[in-house]
């Protein structure tokens, strides 16, 4: 078959859905669409036929700058133990509080204090 001149085509939009007010947008896939406005409208039915959401972002794929999958060392930042920056690195606090006749508390305890009116 003769090579045809390619006609104008739809652009790819990456689709991000925000499930509820307290969630951040999460990437769910992409659509091809003639404009951002139509990308919104078709994304609604392509991705939210069953689920609820409060917001949709569409971003032209060409505007996404991604890191490389081949170089996973880019993400290597937990190679040695870094529990000095985790709650789990401070397990001995609980024992020490006990010797002072107090129990250890966490952020959740303080958050729950607030919830109790």
């Amino acid at each position: 078959m003769e090579h045809q001149e390619r006609s104008a085509h739809y652009e790819v939009y990456e689709v991000f859905i925000q499930r509820d007010d307290l969630s951040h947008h999460v990437h769910v896939g992409s659509v091809v669409a003639p404009s951002a406005k139509l990308a919104h409208q078709v994304a609604r039915e392509n991705f939210l036929r069953r689920e609820k959401a409060v917001n949709i972002w569409v971003v032209k794929q060409e505007h996404v700058h991604a890191t490389s999958y081949e170089d996973q060392d880019f993400f290597a930042n937990q190679m040695l133990n870094k529990n000095y920056r985790e709650v789990s690195g401070y397990a001995e606090n609980a024992k020490k509080w006990k010797t002072f006749k107090q129990v250890a508390i966490t952020v959740d305890d303080l958050v729950n204090d607030i919830k109790e009116h």
């Binding site: 917001n55 920056r85 709650v87 690195g89 952020v107």
Partner: protein, 313 residues
């Protein structure tokens, strides 16, 4: 703005809906949101400095690592919050640069505690223990904020604070278990920070701005509620370590379920925050000024380099 528009907005607030930066909102609401989050973000950035002073002196490898990580998180929280404030301030054309430089011309304030001195290693511990404890209580109350981007970002901030709390307590516990000199150092820090902590939550009689924020549910708890939560949690903990608190009126009353306490010198602290006249206010603002203004050449160069490299590609 029509009355109908405002009524619809207030109904949304009453129903517990979240407001987003691109939603219609009264100018008053937007300005209060910006003021609150800008102040919160700048306080995080300025809050890095008292502990930064102890990073180069942290007494062992693990404390050094933890303190670097903690100060990094504070700056990180400043970054998250300023981004939210910047988006809210977009209609006014404000960008990061404005958010930072407002500090140098006294157009944004920061928390009283970060104007104070941290002269010993025990202060680095007490900041993590008491100041972070107070900050977590305040931030936990803001998780209910009507401003959606603020509520979202605070979830991450509160989660990260969980390590700060443990780190602060760990430093304090080591000192409490330590030598007589270490305990003395700890007691001095407790005494030094307590009045600042009582001021931290603000006066029982709230300003008109704070009251409007309550009406808009940008914040939902009174200053006094938060202070009572703090006292209730932290007084027994401090006392259990064998430390004393510099307040002879501190007492729990079962009938009211409230604590009495000596009021801090509201005027003195307010004046300090308003005029940046605390013992460390100017030195720390100067550090931020050096970071920002003296290194404008770096940011300018990176913008230029970006353009050159893009043009080559």
């Amino acid at each position: 703005m029509s009355d109908v528009q405002l009524q619809i907005f207030m109904d949304r607030i009453q129903q517990g809906q979240k407001i987003e930066s691109t939603d219609w909102m009264p100018d008053d609401y937007r300005k209060l949101v910006i003021k609150q989050i800008h102040m919160h973000g700048i306080s995080e950035v300025m809050g890095a400095y008292p502990e930064k002073e102890w990073v180069p002196k942290a007494p062992n490898l693990r404390r050094k690592l933890a303190l670097i990580a903690k100060v990094q998180d504070e700056i990180g929280h400043g970054q998250l919050l300023l981004r939210v404030a910047e988006d809210a301030a977009k209609p006014f054309g404000k960008v990061r640069d404005d958010m930072i430089t407002d500090l140098f011309v006294n157009k944004v304030k920061f928390h009283n505690v970060f104007h104070m001195e941290a002269p010993t290693w025990a202060d680095a511990g007490i900041i993590g223990f008491l100041v972070d404890g107070g900050a977590i209580i305040t931030q936990a109350s803001l998780l209910e904020s009507s401003y959606g981007p603020y509520a979202r970002v605070l979830q991450r901030i509160c989660a990260e604070e969980s390590f700060h709390m443990q780190h602060g307590e760990s430093v304090v516990l080591s000192l409490a278990e330590g030598t007589a000199e270490q305990r003395e150092m700890l007691q001095a820090a407790v005494t030094r920070w307590w009045p600042s902590m009582m001021f931290f939550f603000g006066p029982p009689e709230m300003s008109s701005g704070a009251q409007r924020m309550m009406e808009y549910k940008i914040r939902t708890r009174t200053n006094e509620e938060l202070r009572q939560k703090f006292i209730n949690r932290y007084v027994p903990r401090v006392l259990s370590l064998g430390m004393t608190l510099p307040d002879n009126q501190l007492a729990y009353h079962a009938e009211t379920k409230l604590w009495t306490y000596t009021e801090p010198d509201w005027e003195k602290f307010s004046y300090m925050v308003q005029h940046n006249s605390g013992p460390k206010s100017q030195a720390r603002i100067e550090l931020r000024r050096q970071a920002h203004e003296d290194q404008k050449w770096v940011r300018d160069a990176m913008i230029r380099a970006g353009q050159v490299i893009e043009a080559m590609a």
